[in-house]
């Protein structure tokens, strides 16, 4: 399948998306004989399943098959492939077996001739639960006597990752002042516009076809192959356009349930998730950030001890996120002595997973709030304190990784200036302001963040075909998820072969296309961009070889210019050269980009560093707790913006994303349930909530590893938003909210104007 685009300007997928031609999973035409799947979800966060009686559902006319734990016929229901290692594996079954461990876990499913019958059948399934005490907070989950999420593991602690250098005890003795603090970050939902969990699943003999929005198609293929006992090659995953993912679009329970029903019924099975179901599939790791910082009297950071609790939710595959949280948990600063401990903890929350800038918004909230508190307490201007301690370009962060490739000081200064501030202030709180107690108060804050450019290993292939009409097609296995990847691919190829974007088509990806690990972790500009670039060079080499054979001259004498190869005054269109070797076929070029996995806290060699800074100006009303963001500026080191509009949109989108978890978003658990897992109660920022001045600075030094010196940008700018706003609130009112989101209720309580627990 190939895009039919009219890309002249703007995005190559823009025409199809704006005109409605672009197909998402729910738009796909249903194969003949498709049946519809509905899933019965647990209403409890923790309960033993005493009995399931699905006989009435099975007898309902129109019901084709029912799935419960009683229907497995000896099949092993646990997902065993993949995983990070480093701790006990809290494996998840694709359908609940002895108990349910989170609100929304699938207990039963029905395939029926219509979606209505499937829904009705669910109401005929009787499940008897024995409620068990549920635990949602990671600190409580570690207390003796806490309910065990997985009895077989014997503890809710599922692994610990430690990174240290120097000697923190010695460091604290050498410090002049010591500061201790705790910050928490809530579990929030990704909230892509397209719900999580839709698919069309088919078994054709012993081959599986799954059409679903999945970011890591090959990983999904491996999980499916393991569960159904097939060779991975027998599993074909195809991902149409993805309507936003932010980490949530992976192989999920509903897909596996649909596949099981497809095998059982011999018919294609369709799932379509509701928003309420979607919001119970995945979330960001709730995190507790506990820090003790020793500082010298001149403001030099000296010794730090950081303890992180990562809430994995009900299932966990090891130390992935705790480890990534440990990597960079102290921020982009030079610290002499360090000890960081990250612990993964099981609770009865929806299992946490990948999420735009995994683990970094959580730790950035911790360290940038902590640093600001220290600077203000020591009477040092926020900017100067950071300038004194920043890592500098060329600093080694971890052995085997790229040295720091950005300039924090300049970026942070520029970001503060963008909101009309020089980053210097000694004011904390109301005391020094002339405003009456009911007047609104201004505050300003800055923050910096860093992350590994992208995580883990990478292996990204691209394959190009060039036909006799000079049209280039790019074959690959990475879906356009909304971030502008297809634009980058198109621009890179257009630049490398000097052909117009109109002559470039991008094939839709599937697991029968050249391999890629998948789109995540802001890696595709560098990885896929490089693979496409190399494939173009491969093609160019072949074209020159043909030109030399057909027209003479030497390879060095032929030059590529405006889509033709030139030798002196003679030139040949690229298509002509293809026709010279095959009258109706294509010429193929291949490229592959690889990054090595390393056993460090960043899980890889880190080809570049994700570097971003933020500055906020707020207005806060001490009589109501209302906080309005007046100005927000982001700077991000992009290396080189291959597509400036898409690049800027990624940074703006990331900042807006960060605004959500700063002021509005949190999944709230009470007793056995999530109180707000629907789009009405769960609050996302709207465009009207954006500040009037919303500024993006793209720093371009051309020093990245991607094509034309580019770096990835989609993740990093999420992180500075919360601490920049929290720090602005600190300047405005002298109060510190330790638990995100920052709500009016919490502000009034921190001011001592109301008592008792604040609502979220």
């Amino acid at each position: 399948m190939v895009l039919e685009t009219k890309p002249a300007i703007g995005r190559v997928d823009g025409y199809d998306k704006v005109t409605g031609r672009a197909q998402y999973t729910e738009d796909l035409p249903l194969p003949y004989g498709t049946v519809f799947c509905a899933i019965l979800a647990s209403p409890y966060s923790h309960a033993a399943i005493r009995d399931i009686d699905a006989r009435r559902a099975e007898r309902l006319p129109g019901v084709v098959a029912v799935l419960t734990r009683e229907h497995l016929d000896g099949m092993d229901p646990y997902l065993r492939s993949g995983g990070f290692g480093g701790g006990p594996q809290a494996l998840r079954p694709f359908i609940a077996i002895e108990k349910v461990r989170y609100d929304g876990e699938a207990v039963a499913a029905v395939a029926a001739e219509t979606a209505e019958i499937a829904d009705r059948a669910l109401s005929l399934i009787d499940v008897t639960y024995d409620e068990l005490p549920a635990v949602f907070d990671p600190a409580q989950a570690l207390e003796p006597g806490a309910p065990l999420v997985h009895e077989a593991i014997g503890s809710n602690a599922v692994g610990e990752y430690v990174w240290s250098w120097g000697d923190v005890a010695q460091g604290f003795r050498e410090s002049d002042r010591i500061f201790e603090d705790v910050y928490t970050f809530p579990s929030v939902f990704h909230h892509p516009m397209e719900n999580v969990g839709g698919c069309v699943a088919e078994f054709r003999g012993n081959e599986i076809q799954l059409l679903a929005p999945i970011q890591h198609m090959f990983h999904g293929r491996e999980e499916i192959a393991q569960l159904f006992g097939l060779a991975p090659e027998r599993v074909h995953v195809r991902s149409p356009f993805i309507g936003g993912g932010f980490g949530a679009k992976e192989l999920k329970q509903p897909h596996l349930i649909a596949l099981w029903l497809a095998r059982k019924t011999g018919r294609p099975v369709r799932t379509a998730a509701s928003a309420e179901e979607s919001m119970r599939t995945d979330c960001r790791h709730q995190m507790v950030y506990r820090v003790k910082t020793g500082v010298r009297s001149d403001g030099t950071l000296w010794s730090q001890e950081i303890e992180l609790l990562c809430n994995e939710g009900a299932y966990s595959r090891g130390l992935g996120v705790s480890r990534l949280a440990v990597g960079g948990a102290w921020g982009p600063y030079r610290v002499r002595h360090m000890r960081i401990t990250g612990r993964s903890v099981l609770t009865n929350r929806v299992p946490a997973g990948s999420f735009r800038s995994v683990a970094k918004p959580q730790v950035t909230w911790g360290y940038e709030s902590n640093l600001e508190t220290i600077a203000r307490a020591m009477g040092i201007d926020p900017l100067d304190f950071r300038l004194r301690n920043f890592l500098r370009r060329g600093d080694i962060i971890v052995d085997g990784a790229t040295p720091l490739d950005a300039d924090y000081g300049g970026m942070l200064k520029q970001t503060a200036e963008a909101i009309g501030w020089n980053g210097r202030s000694q004011r904390v709180g109301l005391a020094s302001t002339p405003s009456p107690p009911t007047g609104k108060v201004l505050g300003r804050g800055i923050a910096a963040t860093f992350r590994h450019g992208y995580s883990g290993s990478d292996n990204t292939h691209a394959s190009l075909t060039l036909d006799g009409e000079g049209r280039l097609r790019i074959h690959h296995a990475v879906t356009e998820i909304g971030g502008g990847l297809y634009n980058v691919m198109s621009k890179v190829a257009s630049h490398a072969l000097d052909i117009p974007p109109d002559d470039i088509e991008i094939a839709h990806p599937d697991t029968d296309s050249p391999f890629s690990d998948g789109i995540a972790s802001q890696r595709m500009t560098v990885c896929m961009g490089s693979a496409v670039d190399m494939a173009c060079q491969d093609l160019k080499r072949q074209l020159i070889e043909i030109a030399v054979n057909v027209y003479g001259g030497t390879a060095e004498e032929w030059r590529l210019f405006q889509g033709r190869l030139w030798h002196g005054e003679r030139s040949a269109a690229l298509g002509e050269l293809v026709r010279a070797v095959t009258p109706s076929g294509v010429l193929t070029g291949n490229g592959v980009h690889r990054t090595q996995r390393r056993e460090n806290a960043f899980m890889g060699e880190v080809p570049y560093w994700g570097v971003s800074t933020g500055a906020a100006e707020i207005e806060v009303d001490p009589a109501t707790g209302e906080l309005r963001l007046l100005k927000y500026a982001t700077a991000c080191d992009v290396g080189k913006a291959i597509d400036p509009i898409a690049c800027r949109a990624q940074i703006e989108g990331a900042a807006l994303f960060g605004l959500g978890n700063t002021l509005y978003e949190e999944l709230i658990y009470q007793d056995q349930q999530i109180l707000n897992a629907d789009p009405f109660q769960y609050r996302l920022p709207l465009l009207a909530d954006l500040p009037e001045e919303f500024i993006t600075i793209m720093v371009e030094n051309g020093d990245g590893p991607g094509p034309q010196g580019s770096k990835g940008v989609g993740n990093t700018p999420v992180s500075p938003v919360a601490p920049a706003i929290g720090n602005a609130l600190f300047e405005a009112l002298g109060i510190r909210i330790h638990d995100l989101p920052i709500t009016p209720d919490k502000i009034l309580r921190a001011l001592g104007r109301t008592q008792g627990a604040a609502a979220s």
Partner: protein
């Protein structure tokens, strides 16, 4: 989600409407602008057997301004009332409250009477109706009655309308020259329901507060008259001290519920802040009004 199954009736006269309501009683729900009912149906929080769509009923879409007041028929859209050239002069508090409802797309469909009959605790119009002693015109098959606003609102999402009755119109009084007015509210996100709000109507006599009506909303139940707060400003000059006393009284007497968007303590506190602001603005307007 999609609504559950229901029968659909679209009467064209009031008589037919009342007959249908009489026949189906509790099983029927009236559909006007649909801005409250449709979400309830889609979330399956309401499962009426019959939806009676009154949008085609003749005579209900009238907005009349006369000596008795601003009479708003059952299907008059909030946006139409908001943009009506004479409403602002006839009742400036109503005109100030209408733009605070949702987004304009919601007001394009939502009706004034629909919002009143739905009686959401966070809605602006019920508080305005109570503050102004609006009169609710209630019809049933064999009769008609007029209910004063403070007797109309019973609790959250509950009014004194019987299942076979229709709120056919609401009359807001014509503004008395010299009265000051203000509505203040706070919502966490643009266009959201208010977390809390307050309405003030104030009449001055020689610089002294002769009458004061303060109504809080968003507390969880019906709009609440803040009588203690009113007493704190009535009979004296409305200066900073009086306002501060009114604020403190409001926080004490507010009967607030908490939910995930704001605790009870938070709501009570904020209602005080907002009542103080409403009083301050209303008093300034009253001063300007009586001076001219």
């Amino acid at each position: 989600m999609k609504p559950p199954q229901f029968e659909y009736e679209a009467p064209s006269t009031i008589a037919e409407t009342l007959e249908l309501l009489d026949r189906f009683g509790d099983d029927a729900k009236v559909l006007a602008g649909g801005q409250s009912l449709m979400p309830l149906l889609n979330f399956r929080l309401a499962r009426p057997a019959v939806v009676v769509d009154i949008n085609r009923v003749r005579g209900l879409a009238r907005l009349d301004i006369g000596p008795d007041g601003v009479r708003v028929g059952a299907t008059v859209r909030q946006r139409d009332a908001e943009r009506h050239l004479d409403v602002a002069a006839a009742n400036p508090l109503l005109a100030e409250a209408l733009p605070l409802i949702g987004h304009f797309q919601i007001r394009n469909r939502g009706t004034v009477c629909g919002s009143l009959a739905h009686a959401d605790p966070a809605a602006e119009l019920p508080a305005v109706a109570v503050a102004l002693d609006a009169e609710m015109e209630v019809q049933r098959r064999h009769g008609k009655r007029t209910v004063p606003a403070d007797a109309f609102f019973v609790d959250a999402l509950t009014t004194s309308l019987a299942p076979n009755e229709l709120l056919s119109a609401t009359t807001f009084p014509i503004w008395r020259g010299g009265d000051g007015w203000a509505i203040e509210e706070f919502s966490r996100r643009s266009g959201d329901f208010a977390v809390a709000g307050a309405v003030a109507v104030i009449r001055l006599d020689g610089g002294v507060c002769a009458e004061a009506r303060l109504v809080a909303f968003g507390l969880g139940g019906s709009p609440q008259r803040l009588t203690g707060s009113e007493a704190a400003i009535r009979g004296g000059r409305i200066d900073d001290g009086a306002i501060e006393r009114a604020v403190v009284r409001a926080r004490e007497e507010a009967r607030a519920d908490g939910d995930i968007h704001g605790s009870a303590a938070y709501r009570a506190y904020v209602v005080g802040s907002l009542a103080g602001r409403a009083v301050r603005r209303a008093a300034a307007r009253a001063r300007a009004g009586t001076a001219s």
